[in-house]
């Protein structure tokens, strides 16, 4: 299966998207650390923006990998990305402020080993396999960490596993109403996995254009961010959660509008059909 089915013409080269996505995701996740420095939670939404940067990079990596016709469908790439990413991300949260860096390094190691297994042991012989699966694991880890940082206000193991619950006016430590203890991370897993595989799955084909697919990736990211913002109301204060929600809704509306415009541009023939006119006298 070394036949390349589709080719990338023009547009932004993959290495540029790789570098921009990686730097933007890590920087945005680190900006959410300002929560801890300033003692507020208003910087949480930067975690979601970091996740969206990683999702844009991820959709282009999937395009890069799946244009070789791997035969298993595009969603499988998203699943293996988050399957390997979640392991690196959960382990990295133990390292406090170094967590995003540890997540990137560990995900790269796990992804490279899985890429080697797929390419050499399973004999797939796809030139970009090892590089793509390495990138996918890093993307999975960064998206999960971004949305987790947005929902809990921090990216450390302690903030994801321990919270407080108020029972009859008393504030008690609680491990159940948290990102990991409450199982919300499973929702984040699927929100990210679907958002990373959907753009290429929806846009592939002869009429594929890069800007339309990347716009759809941003749109999917903001759509997932809306859900994550709603869930964050259970974990952080209401005001920062509403800030995240407003950012997500504005971002989603703008990117969805732009995506529809680009879809109309790329459609072979687009006709603004009106409702069937009712003729008088019938």
């Amino acid at each position: 299966m070394t036949v390349k089915v589709e080719k990338i013409e023009g547009g932004i080269p993959h290495t540029t998207i790789l570098a921009a996505g990686l730097v933007a995701a890590v920087v945005c996740i680190y900006i959410s650390y300002a929560n801890t420095l300033t003692g507020t939670q208003y910087f949480s939404f930067f975690g979601g923006l970091g996740a969206i940067a990683a999702l844009v990079w991820g959709s282009h990596t999937i395009k890069h990998l799946c244009s070789y016709g791997i035969g298993t469908g595009v969603p499988s790439a998203g699943m293996i990305a988050f399957g390997s990413g979640v392991i690196a991300m959960l382990f990295a949260t133990k390292y406090g402020i170094a967590a995003p860096i540890v997540a990137v390094i560990l995900a790269a190691i796990i992804g490279a080993i899985i890429g080697f297994l797929a390419n050499n042991v399973l004999n797939m012989r796809i030139p970009v396999m090892i590089q793509s699966l390495t990138e996918m694991a890093i993307i999975g880890a960064l998206v999960l960490m971004g949305y987790s940082a947005m929902m809990t206000g921090s990216f450390t193991f302690a903030s994801m596993t321990s919270g407080t619950t108020i029972v009859m006016g008393l504030s008690l430590p609680s491990y159940q109403a948290t990102l990991i203890g409450g199982g919300l991370i499973a929702t984040v897993f699927m929100l990210g996995a679907i958002a990373v595989q959907h753009p290429f799955n929806a846009c592939l084909g002869p009429s594929w254009t890069q800007d339309r697919m990347l716009m759809l990736a941003v749109e999917c990211g903001f759509l997932s961010m809306i859900t994550a913002a709603v869930m964050s109301m259970a974990l952080i204060h209401m005001a920062p959660a509403v800030v995240s929600l407003v950012v997500a809704i504005i971002g989603w509306y703008y990117t969805f509008y732009r995506y529809i415009e680009l879809s109309k541009r790329d459609a072979a023939s687009w006709l603004d059909s009106k409702p069937i006119p009712e003729l008088e006298g019938q």
């Binding site: 036949v3 298993t72 293996i80 392991i87 382990f91 399973l122 004999n123 430590p173 990991i180």
Partner: protein, 278 residues
Amino acid sequence: MAAIAAKPAAGAAVDMPSTIVGIIILLLVIAAAYFLVGPGLMFMALIGVIVGGLLIGFGVHFVPVGGAPAAMGQAPGIATGVAMLAAGAGLAGLFGGAWAAEMGVVVAVITGAIGGGLMMAITCMFVTFIYVFGMGIPSASGKVQKDPITGDTQTEFKSQGTEGHGLPFVSYVGGVIGGLLGGAGGTLIYIMLLDVYKDALPGMMKALPAQVLPIAVALAGMFAIGIFLVNAVLAAYNITGTIEGPHDPKFKRFPRALVASAVASAVCGIVAIMIVAL
């Protein structure tokens, strides 16, 4: 044209040097785990994770995955990809097994296997209903002349220009076996990690065992889902997307998937265990 005319490299051949490198990585990981945590609960958990990964990787080969051609009635199997099918069967099994986690490893793993097998049996039954009564196509295999189990001939029912269609009986049985193995493997990974976390988390987080139980359950569940998906997709890469069931010639490729599953499970498993050991 040279690239298109070239022989597809993803054939049945086993790449021996790469396989040996894979086995060396596996042994290195097991040795590293032995030196880091010693021969205790955590080391046994890593072995359990590897066995679970092997069950998943082997089980996926039984599941009749048809993909897009099956949805158009041009190939036999269930009309979706491996990632969806294996995740469905494995997670159904995992939930079944997690419910029985308190009753010991054997009961939980068997319950998980039954959950996965039941999910696949129901899926295969309704897929057949839709194929036969909805799409109006009979079940016929394209890879064998006679069904290995029932002995029914296949070629008369196969439409020209297709690779067979519908869900032959042997594929149904293969689907159920795949669900049983996948459910058992997923549950085994979950139970092994849950035991480790229940043992180590109270000391690490300085809390009562009952308080950190939700954390232990969620962590073990997330790692089990992650390791499950990695193994399922690697096995899917091995069969290049579609397979009819245990009678398909592609089934013979399973040895290299076992190597890949064992290595991937070991690498993921040691990270999952080190989260409480380091």
